[in-house]
Protein backbone atom coordinates (compact mmCIF):
# COMPACT_ATOMS: atom_id res chain seq x y z
CA UNK A 1 0.00 0.00 0.00
CA UNK A 2 1.30 3.43 -0.90
CA UNK A 3 2.11 5.69 2.02
CA UNK A 4 0.12 8.88 1.92
CA UNK A 5 1.96 12.20 2.14
CA UNK A 6 0.24 14.33 4.77
CA UNK A 7 -1.62 17.26 3.23
CA UNK A 8 -0.02 20.60 4.10
CA UNK A 9 -2.10 22.58 6.56
CA UNK A 10 -3.72 25.42 4.59
CA UNK A 11 -2.75 28.86 5.84
CA UNK A 12 -4.82 32.00 5.48
CA UNK A 13 -3.26 35.33 4.68
CA UNK A 14 -3.88 37.64 7.64
CA UNK A 15 -2.07 40.61 6.11
CA UNK A 16 -4.22 43.68 5.46
CA UNK A 17 -2.70 44.05 2.01
CA UNK A 18 -2.71 40.40 0.96
CA UNK A 19 -4.88 38.04 -1.05
CA UNK A 20 -7.56 37.69 1.63
CA UNK A 21 -8.25 41.41 1.64
CA UNK A 22 -9.71 41.31 -1.86
CA UNK A 23 -11.61 38.17 -0.95
CA UNK A 24 -13.17 39.94 2.06
CA UNK A 25 -14.39 42.71 -0.25
CA UNK A 26 -15.79 40.20 -2.72
CA UNK A 27 -17.68 38.40 0.03
CA UNK A 28 -19.26 41.65 1.23
CA UNK A 29 -17.51 41.43 4.60
CA UNK A 30 -15.84 44.85 4.53
CA UNK A 31 -17.54 47.69 6.43
CA UNK A 32 -20.65 45.54 6.39
CA UNK A 33 -23.72 45.97 8.58
CA UNK A 34 -23.54 43.84 11.74
CA UNK A 35 -26.29 42.19 13.71
CA UNK A 36 -27.52 44.20 16.71
CA UNK A 37 -29.79 42.72 19.36
CA UNK A 38 -33.05 44.57 19.86
CA UNK A 39 -33.16 47.02 22.76
CA UNK A 40 -35.57 49.89 23.37
CA UNK A 41 -33.99 53.24 22.49
CA UNK A 42 -34.87 54.91 25.83
CA UNK A 43 -33.16 52.10 27.75
CA UNK A 44 -30.14 52.20 25.46
CA UNK A 45 -29.90 55.95 26.00
CA UNK A 46 -29.86 55.39 29.76
CA UNK A 47 -27.07 52.87 29.39
CA UNK A 48 -25.03 55.09 27.07
CA UNK A 49 -25.10 57.96 29.59
CA UNK A 50 -21.60 59.06 30.60
CA UNK A 51 -20.32 59.57 34.13
CA UNK A 52 -17.00 60.71 35.53
CA UNK A 53 -17.47 59.26 39.02
CA UNK A 54 -16.81 55.54 38.51
CA UNK A 55 -13.76 56.01 36.29
CA UNK A 56 -12.26 58.70 38.55
CA UNK A 57 -12.59 56.43 41.58
CA UNK A 58 -11.27 53.40 39.69
CA UNK A 59 -8.38 55.36 38.18
CA UNK A 60 -7.28 56.94 41.47
CA UNK A 61 -7.23 53.47 43.02
CA UNK A 62 -5.31 52.16 40.00
CA UNK A 63 -2.65 54.86 40.27
CA UNK A 64 -2.44 54.30 44.03
CA UNK A 65 -1.87 50.57 43.51
CA UNK A 66 0.78 51.21 40.85
CA UNK A 67 2.61 53.81 42.90
CA UNK A 68 2.33 51.69 46.06
CA UNK A 69 3.67 48.50 44.47
CA UNK A 70 6.34 50.47 42.58
CA UNK A 71 7.48 52.09 45.81
CA UNK A 72 7.54 48.68 47.50
CA UNK A 73 9.67 47.33 44.64
CA UNK A 74 12.03 50.28 44.95
CA UNK A 75 12.40 49.89 48.71
CA UNK A 76 12.91 46.11 48.59
CA UNK A 77 15.15 46.10 45.50
CA UNK A 78 18.02 43.66 45.97
CA UNK A 79 16.01 41.44 48.34
CA UNK A 80 13.55 38.63 47.62
CA UNK A 81 10.83 41.01 48.74
CA UNK A 82 11.06 42.86 45.46
CA UNK A 83 9.81 39.80 43.54
CA UNK A 84 6.16 39.93 44.70
CA UNK A 85 6.25 43.74 44.59
CA UNK A 86 7.44 43.69 40.97
CA UNK A 87 4.95 40.96 40.12
CA UNK A 88 2.08 43.17 41.30
CA UNK A 89 3.58 46.33 39.82
CA UNK A 90 4.36 44.70 36.48
CA UNK A 91 0.91 43.16 36.20
CA UNK A 92 -0.79 46.46 36.93
CA UNK A 93 1.51 48.31 34.55
CA UNK A 94 1.74 45.82 31.70
CA UNK A 95 -1.68 44.17 31.84
CA UNK A 96 -4.38 46.27 33.46
CA UNK A 97 -3.30 49.20 31.29
CA UNK A 98 -4.81 47.24 28.39
CA UNK A 99 -8.39 47.77 29.56
CA UNK A 100 -7.75 51.44 30.46
CA UNK A 101 -6.25 51.90 27.00
CA UNK A 102 -9.31 50.27 25.53
CA UNK A 103 -12.09 52.10 27.36
CA UNK A 104 -10.41 55.50 27.19
CA UNK A 105 -9.64 54.90 23.51
CA UNK A 106 -13.39 54.69 22.96
CA UNK A 107 -13.69 57.85 25.10
CA UNK A 108 -16.50 56.28 27.08
CA UNK A 109 -14.80 55.62 30.43
CA UNK A 110 -15.11 59.24 31.62
CA UNK A 111 -17.71 61.78 30.66
CA UNK A 112 -14.99 64.44 30.42
CA UNK A 113 -13.13 64.06 27.15
CA UNK A 114 -9.71 65.21 28.37
CA UNK A 115 -9.76 62.68 31.20
CA UNK A 116 -10.24 59.89 28.67
CA UNK A 117 -7.39 61.27 26.61
CA UNK A 118 -4.94 61.67 29.51
CA UNK A 119 -5.52 58.11 30.75
CA UNK A 120 -5.47 56.83 27.16
CA UNK A 121 -2.00 58.26 26.52
CA UNK A 122 -0.59 56.97 29.82
CA UNK A 123 -2.13 53.51 29.37
CA UNK A 124 -1.01 53.33 25.72
CA UNK A 125 2.59 53.86 26.78
CA UNK A 126 2.31 51.29 29.56
CA UNK A 127 0.82 48.59 27.35
CA UNK A 128 3.39 49.45 24.66
CA UNK A 129 1.01 50.63 21.99
CA UNK A 130 1.51 53.86 20.12
CA UNK A 131 -1.55 55.89 20.98
CA UNK A 132 -2.66 57.18 17.59
CA UNK A 133 -1.56 54.19 15.51
CA UNK A 134 -3.44 51.85 17.83
CA UNK A 135 -6.50 54.07 17.94
CA UNK A 136 -6.82 53.52 14.20
CA UNK A 137 -6.00 49.84 14.49
CA UNK A 138 -8.77 49.43 17.02
CA UNK A 139 -11.15 51.42 14.85
CA UNK A 140 -10.58 48.89 12.09
CA UNK A 141 -11.05 46.05 14.59
CA UNK A 142 -14.52 47.42 15.28
CA UNK A 143 -15.36 47.89 11.60
CA UNK A 144 -14.29 44.43 10.54
CA UNK A 145 -14.06 42.32 13.68
CA UNK A 146 -12.14 39.08 12.97
CA UNK A 147 -12.51 39.51 9.21
CA UNK A 148 -9.38 37.95 7.74
CA UNK A 149 -7.42 40.40 5.60
CA UNK A 150 -9.02 43.40 7.31
CA UNK A 151 -8.75 43.16 11.08
CA UNK A 152 -5.25 44.04 12.36
CA UNK A 153 -6.08 42.76 15.87
CA UNK A 154 -6.68 39.05 15.29
CA UNK A 155 -4.77 37.70 18.29
CA UNK A 156 -4.59 34.06 17.21
CA UNK A 157 -4.35 33.55 13.46
CA UNK A 158 -4.98 30.02 12.24
CA UNK A 159 -3.37 27.61 12.39
CA UNK A 160 -2.25 28.83 15.79
CA UNK A 161 1.42 28.43 16.62
CA UNK A 162 1.14 27.14 20.16
CA UNK A 163 4.66 28.25 21.08
CA UNK A 164 3.79 31.68 19.72
CA UNK A 165 0.72 31.77 21.97
CA UNK A 166 2.93 30.95 24.99
CA UNK A 167 5.39 33.73 24.06
CA UNK A 168 2.52 36.21 24.18
CA UNK A 169 2.52 35.88 27.97
CA UNK A 170 5.77 37.90 27.85
CA UNK A 171 4.58 40.22 25.05
CA UNK A 172 6.87 38.40 22.62
CA UNK A 173 7.43 38.88 19.81
CA UNK A 174 4.69 41.55 19.68
CA UNK A 175 6.43 43.91 22.10
CA UNK A 176 9.68 43.75 20.15
CA UNK A 177 7.74 44.44 16.97
CA UNK A 178 6.20 47.48 18.66
CA UNK A 179 9.67 48.76 19.57
CA UNK A 180 10.78 48.30 15.97
CA UNK A 181 7.68 50.19 14.83
CA UNK A 182 8.45 53.02 17.24
CA UNK A 183 11.98 53.23 15.83
CA UNK A 184 10.62 53.26 12.27
CA UNK A 185 8.03 55.91 13.10
CA UNK A 186 10.71 58.06 14.73
CA UNK A 187 12.24 58.29 11.27
CA UNK A 188 8.89 59.16 9.69
CA UNK A 189 8.25 55.83 8.02
CA UNK A 190 5.03 53.78 7.94
CA UNK A 191 4.67 50.46 6.17
CA UNK A 192 1.92 49.53 3.69
CA UNK A 193 -0.25 47.82 6.31
CA UNK A 194 -0.16 50.85 8.61
CA UNK A 195 -0.96 53.15 5.72
CA UNK A 196 -4.00 50.95 5.05
CA UNK A 197 -5.67 51.88 8.33
CA UNK A 198 -4.03 55.13 9.47
CA UNK A 199 -5.20 58.10 7.40
CA UNK A 200 -2.52 60.42 6.04
CA UNK A 201 -3.69 63.34 8.19
CA UNK A 202 -2.71 61.34 11.28
CA UNK A 203 0.80 60.36 10.18
CA UNK A 204 2.59 63.40 11.69
CA UNK A 205 0.94 62.69 15.03
CA UNK A 206 2.13 59.05 14.88
CA UNK A 207 5.69 60.23 14.26
CA UNK A 208 5.56 62.76 17.11
CA UNK A 209 4.27 60.20 19.58
CA UNK A 210 6.93 57.67 18.55
CA UNK A 211 9.60 60.27 19.32
CA UNK A 212 8.12 60.91 22.76
CA UNK A 213 8.09 57.16 23.50
CA UNK A 214 11.67 56.84 22.28
CA UNK A 215 12.77 59.80 24.42
CA UNK A 216 11.27 58.18 27.53
CA UNK A 217 13.02 54.88 26.79
CA UNK A 218 16.35 56.60 26.11
CA UNK A 219 16.05 58.60 29.35
CA UNK A 220 15.27 55.40 31.30
CA UNK A 221 18.22 53.55 29.78
CA UNK A 222 20.46 56.52 30.57
CA UNK A 223 19.21 56.47 34.14
CA UNK A 224 19.94 52.73 34.39
CA UNK A 225 23.47 53.27 33.05
CA UNK A 226 24.09 56.22 35.35
CA UNK A 227 22.95 54.32 38.43
CA UNK A 228 24.49 51.03 37.34
CA UNK A 229 21.17 49.31 38.08
CA UNK A 230 18.45 47.72 35.97
CA UNK A 231 15.85 48.98 38.44
CA UNK A 232 14.81 52.01 36.33
CA UNK A 233 14.02 49.64 33.44
CA UNK A 234 12.16 47.28 35.75
CA UNK A 235 9.91 50.22 36.60
CA UNK A 236 9.60 51.80 33.14
CA UNK A 237 9.63 49.80 29.91
CA UNK A 238 10.25 46.20 30.94
CA UNK A 239 6.92 45.83 32.82
CA UNK A 240 5.26 45.93 29.38
CA UNK A 241 6.95 42.55 28.88
CA UNK A 242 7.22 40.81 32.25
CA UNK A 243 3.80 42.09 33.32
CA UNK A 244 1.94 41.19 30.13
CA UNK A 245 0.69 37.78 31.21
CA UNK A 246 -2.72 38.91 32.45
CA UNK A 247 -3.51 40.72 29.20
CA UNK A 248 -3.21 37.34 27.53
CA UNK A 249 -5.22 35.44 30.15
CA UNK A 250 -8.06 37.94 29.83
CA UNK A 251 -7.56 38.92 26.20
CA UNK A 252 -7.65 35.46 24.66
CA UNK A 253 -11.18 35.01 26.01
CA UNK A 254 -12.42 37.74 23.65
CA UNK A 255 -12.22 35.93 20.33
CA UNK A 256 -9.79 32.97 20.36
CA UNK A 257 -11.12 29.83 18.72
CA UNK A 258 -14.33 31.47 17.53
CA UNK A 259 -15.58 32.05 14.00
CA UNK A 260 -13.83 34.23 11.44
CA UNK A 261 -15.58 36.12 8.67
CA UNK A 262 -19.03 36.39 10.25
CA UNK A 263 -21.10 39.55 10.70
CA UNK A 264 -22.55 38.75 14.11
CA UNK A 265 -20.56 39.53 17.25
CA UNK A 266 -22.41 36.78 19.10
CA UNK A 267 -20.48 34.30 16.95
CA UNK A 268 -16.99 35.78 17.21
CA UNK A 269 -16.87 37.30 20.71
CA UNK A 270 -17.29 35.88 24.18
CA UNK A 271 -18.93 37.25 27.28
CA UNK A 272 -17.38 35.67 30.38
CA UNK A 273 -18.64 36.17 33.91
CA UNK A 274 -15.81 37.26 36.20
CA UNK A 275 -15.47 38.04 39.89
CA UNK A 276 -15.46 41.70 41.00
CA UNK A 277 -11.65 41.87 41.33
CA UNK A 278 -11.13 40.61 37.78
CA UNK A 279 -13.86 42.92 36.53
CA UNK A 280 -12.08 45.84 38.18
CA UNK A 281 -8.74 44.84 36.66
CA UNK A 282 -10.35 44.28 33.27
CA UNK A 283 -12.83 47.16 33.42
CA UNK A 284 -15.69 44.88 32.38
CA UNK A 285 -14.17 44.01 29.03
CA UNK A 286 -15.33 40.49 29.81
CA UNK A 287 -18.72 41.66 28.49
CA UNK A 288 -17.18 41.58 25.09
CA UNK A 289 -20.15 40.70 22.90
CA UNK A 290 -22.09 43.58 24.38
CA UNK A 291 -19.16 45.98 23.97
CA UNK A 292 -18.75 45.15 20.28
CA UNK A 293 -22.45 45.36 19.61
CA UNK A 294 -22.92 48.70 21.41
CA UNK A 295 -19.54 50.43 21.79
CA UNK A 296 -21.22 53.63 23.01
CA UNK A 297 -22.09 51.97 26.31
CA UNK A 298 -19.41 52.74 28.94
CA UNK A 299 -17.71 49.94 30.82
CA UNK A 300 -19.57 50.62 34.05
CA UNK A 301 -22.92 50.03 32.31
CA UNK A 302 -21.95 46.81 30.52
CA UNK A 303 -23.30 44.45 33.21
CA UNK A 304 -26.70 46.18 32.94
CA UNK A 305 -26.52 46.02 29.13
CA UNK A 306 -25.78 42.31 29.42
CA UNK A 307 -28.95 41.83 31.47
CA UNK A 308 -30.96 43.59 28.76
CA UNK A 309 -29.54 41.54 25.91
CA UNK A 310 -28.81 38.13 27.34
CA UNK A 311 -32.02 36.51 26.07
CA UNK A 312 -30.75 37.21 22.56
CA UNK A 313 -27.20 36.03 23.25
CA UNK A 314 -25.45 32.69 23.46
CA UNK A 315 -25.02 31.72 27.11
CA UNK A 316 -22.23 33.60 28.85
CA UNK A 317 -19.28 31.54 30.13
CA UNK A 318 -19.23 30.91 33.87
CA UNK A 319 -15.68 32.00 34.51
CA UNK A 320 -12.18 31.67 33.11
CA UNK A 321 -11.93 27.92 33.80
CA UNK A 322 -14.97 27.12 31.69
CA UNK A 323 -13.71 29.48 28.99
CA UNK A 324 -10.26 27.93 28.81
CA UNK A 325 -11.78 24.45 28.79
CA UNK A 326 -13.11 25.54 25.42
CA UNK A 327 -10.24 27.67 24.14
CA UNK A 328 -7.32 25.28 24.75
CA UNK A 329 -8.82 22.27 22.93
CA UNK A 330 -10.06 24.59 20.18
CA UNK A 331 -6.59 26.00 19.55
CA UNK A 332 -5.02 22.54 19.67
CA UNK A 333 -7.52 21.38 17.09
CA UNK A 334 -7.06 24.47 14.92
CA UNK A 335 -3.33 23.78 14.87
CA UNK A 336 -4.16 20.69 12.77
CA UNK A 337 -7.43 21.80 11.27
CA UNK A 338 -7.49 25.57 10.71
CA UNK A 339 -11.03 25.43 9.35
CA UNK A 340 -12.33 24.38 12.76
CA UNK A 341 -13.95 26.93 15.04
CA UNK A 342 -16.17 26.91 18.09
CA UNK A 343 -19.75 27.48 17.01
CA UNK A 344 -21.65 29.59 19.51
CA UNK A 345 -25.27 28.53 20.01
CA UNK A 346 -27.66 31.34 19.21
CA UNK A 347 -31.00 31.48 21.00
CA UNK A 348 -33.52 29.58 18.89
CA UNK A 349 -35.63 32.57 17.90
CA UNK A 350 -32.56 34.61 17.09
CA UNK A 351 -31.03 31.77 15.12
CA UNK A 352 -34.20 31.29 13.05
CA UNK A 353 -34.37 35.02 12.31
CA UNK A 354 -30.71 35.05 11.32
CA UNK A 355 -31.08 32.05 9.00
CA UNK A 356 -34.10 33.72 7.43
CA UNK A 357 -32.30 37.02 7.03
CA UNK A 358 -29.19 35.51 5.52
CA UNK A 359 -30.85 32.93 3.31
Amino acid sequence: MESQTPMPIPKRDYSLVGSETQRAYEKGLVSAPWYASPIARPRLKELMRRKDGPAIRHTLLWFALIIGSGTAAFLTWGTWGCVPALFVYGTLYGSTSDSRWHECGHRTAFKTVWMNDVVYYIASFMVLREATAWRWSHTRHHTDTIIVGRDPEIAVPRPPGLFAVCLKFFALPGGLRELAKIARHCFGRLNAVEKDYIPGSEHPRVFREARVYAAIYVATIACALATGSILPLMLVGLPSFYGAWLVVVFGLTQHAGLAEDVLDHRLNCRTVYMNPVFRYLYWNMNYHVEHHMFPLVPYHALPALHEELKADMPPAYRGLVETYREIIPALLRQAKDPAYCVKRPLPLAADAALQGGQA
Binding site: S31, K45, M48, R107, K111, T132, W136, E202, L296
Partner: protein, 105 residues
Protein backbone atom coordinates in the same frame (compact mmCIF):
# COMPACT_ATOMS: atom_id res chain seq x y z
CA UNK B 1 -44.01 77.11 1.60
CA UNK B 2 -40.76 79.03 1.11
CA UNK B 3 -38.13 77.57 -1.21
CA UNK B 4 -36.21 74.53 -0.08
CA UNK B 5 -37.95 73.96 3.25
CA UNK B 6 -38.84 70.29 3.62
CA UNK B 7 -41.09 68.96 6.40
CA UNK B 8 -38.90 66.45 8.24
CA UNK B 9 -40.77 65.31 11.33
CA UNK B 10 -43.05 66.40 14.16
CA UNK B 11 -41.30 68.01 17.11
CA UNK B 12 -42.43 65.14 19.32
CA UNK B 13 -40.83 62.56 17.04
CA UNK B 14 -37.42 63.44 18.49
CA UNK B 15 -36.88 62.95 22.20
CA UNK B 16 -35.04 65.57 24.23
CA UNK B 17 -31.28 65.15 23.73
CA UNK B 18 -31.79 62.66 20.95
CA UNK B 19 -31.61 62.21 17.21
CA UNK B 20 -33.78 60.66 14.50
CA UNK B 21 -33.17 59.70 10.91
CA UNK B 22 -34.99 61.43 8.07
CA UNK B 23 -34.77 60.20 4.48
CA UNK B 24 -35.70 62.44 1.57
CA UNK B 25 -35.05 62.33 -2.16
CA UNK B 26 -32.56 59.49 -1.94
CA UNK B 27 -30.61 61.27 0.79
CA UNK B 28 -30.50 60.69 4.51
CA UNK B 29 -30.34 63.28 7.29
CA UNK B 30 -30.13 63.37 11.06
CA UNK B 31 -32.49 65.66 13.01
CA UNK B 32 -31.38 66.56 16.54
CA UNK B 33 -33.19 68.00 19.51
CA UNK B 34 -31.19 69.43 22.39
CA UNK B 35 -32.16 69.28 26.06
CA UNK B 36 -33.53 72.84 25.77
CA UNK B 37 -35.65 71.97 22.72
CA UNK B 38 -33.56 73.45 19.96
CA UNK B 39 -33.55 71.54 16.67
CA UNK B 40 -30.65 70.99 14.26
CA UNK B 41 -30.00 68.93 11.14
CA UNK B 42 -26.94 67.39 9.53
CA UNK B 43 -26.19 64.84 6.88
CA UNK B 44 -27.36 61.51 8.19
CA UNK B 45 -24.20 59.52 7.66
CA UNK B 46 -21.01 59.75 9.64
CA UNK B 47 -18.17 61.14 7.54
CA UNK B 48 -15.89 58.37 8.77
CA UNK B 49 -17.54 55.20 7.52
CA UNK B 50 -21.04 56.20 6.46
CA UNK B 51 -22.89 54.83 9.48
CA UNK B 52 -26.27 56.37 10.34
CA UNK B 53 -25.79 58.97 13.05
CA UNK B 54 -29.34 58.35 14.22
CA UNK B 55 -27.99 55.26 16.02
CA UNK B 56 -25.63 57.49 17.96
CA UNK B 57 -25.75 59.25 21.29
CA UNK B 58 -26.48 62.94 21.88
CA UNK B 59 -24.68 64.76 24.69
CA UNK B 60 -25.33 68.50 24.85
CA UNK B 61 -24.57 69.54 21.25
CA UNK B 62 -22.38 66.56 20.45
CA UNK B 63 -23.44 63.51 18.44
CA UNK B 64 -21.30 60.47 19.07
CA UNK B 65 -21.33 57.92 16.27
CA UNK B 66 -22.45 54.43 17.21
CA UNK B 67 -19.74 52.65 15.26
CA UNK B 68 -16.41 54.06 16.48
CA UNK B 69 -17.43 56.82 18.88
CA UNK B 70 -16.44 59.60 16.47
CA UNK B 71 -17.84 62.94 17.70
CA UNK B 72 -19.31 65.92 15.90
CA UNK B 73 -20.77 69.19 17.09
CA UNK B 74 -24.09 68.99 15.29
CA UNK B 75 -24.69 72.75 15.59
CA UNK B 76 -21.65 73.46 13.41
CA UNK B 77 -20.83 70.06 11.89
CA UNK B 78 -17.32 70.24 13.33
CA UNK B 79 -15.56 66.87 13.67
CA UNK B 80 -14.14 66.70 17.19
CA UNK B 81 -11.31 64.20 16.71
CA UNK B 82 -10.29 60.80 15.38
CA UNK B 83 -11.80 58.79 13.92
CA UNK B 84 -14.14 61.65 12.98
CA UNK B 85 -11.81 63.85 10.95
CA UNK B 86 -14.08 65.30 8.23
CA UNK B 87 -16.72 67.85 9.18
CA UNK B 88 -20.41 67.10 8.77
CA UNK B 89 -22.65 69.18 6.55
CA UNK B 90 -25.32 71.03 8.49
CA UNK B 91 -28.70 72.34 7.31
CA UNK B 92 -30.88 75.21 8.51
CA UNK B 93 -33.88 74.09 10.55
CA UNK B 94 -37.08 75.86 11.57
CA UNK B 95 -40.03 74.77 13.67
CA UNK B 96 -43.56 75.84 12.83
CA UNK B 97 -46.76 74.57 14.39
CA UNK B 98 -45.12 71.49 15.84
CA UNK B 99 -43.41 70.60 12.57
CA UNK B 100 -39.66 70.53 12.01
CA UNK B 101 -38.52 71.73 8.58
CA UNK B 102 -35.07 71.60 7.13
CA UNK B 103 -33.76 73.62 4.25
CA UNK B 104 -31.91 71.77 1.56
CA UNK B 105 -29.43 73.39 -0.77
Amino acid sequence: MSAGWIPACKTGDVGAEDVVRFDHGGRTFAIYRTADDKYYATDGLCTHEKVHLAHGFVMDTIIECAKHNGRFDFTTGEAKGAPACIHLKTYPVKVEAGQVFLQLD
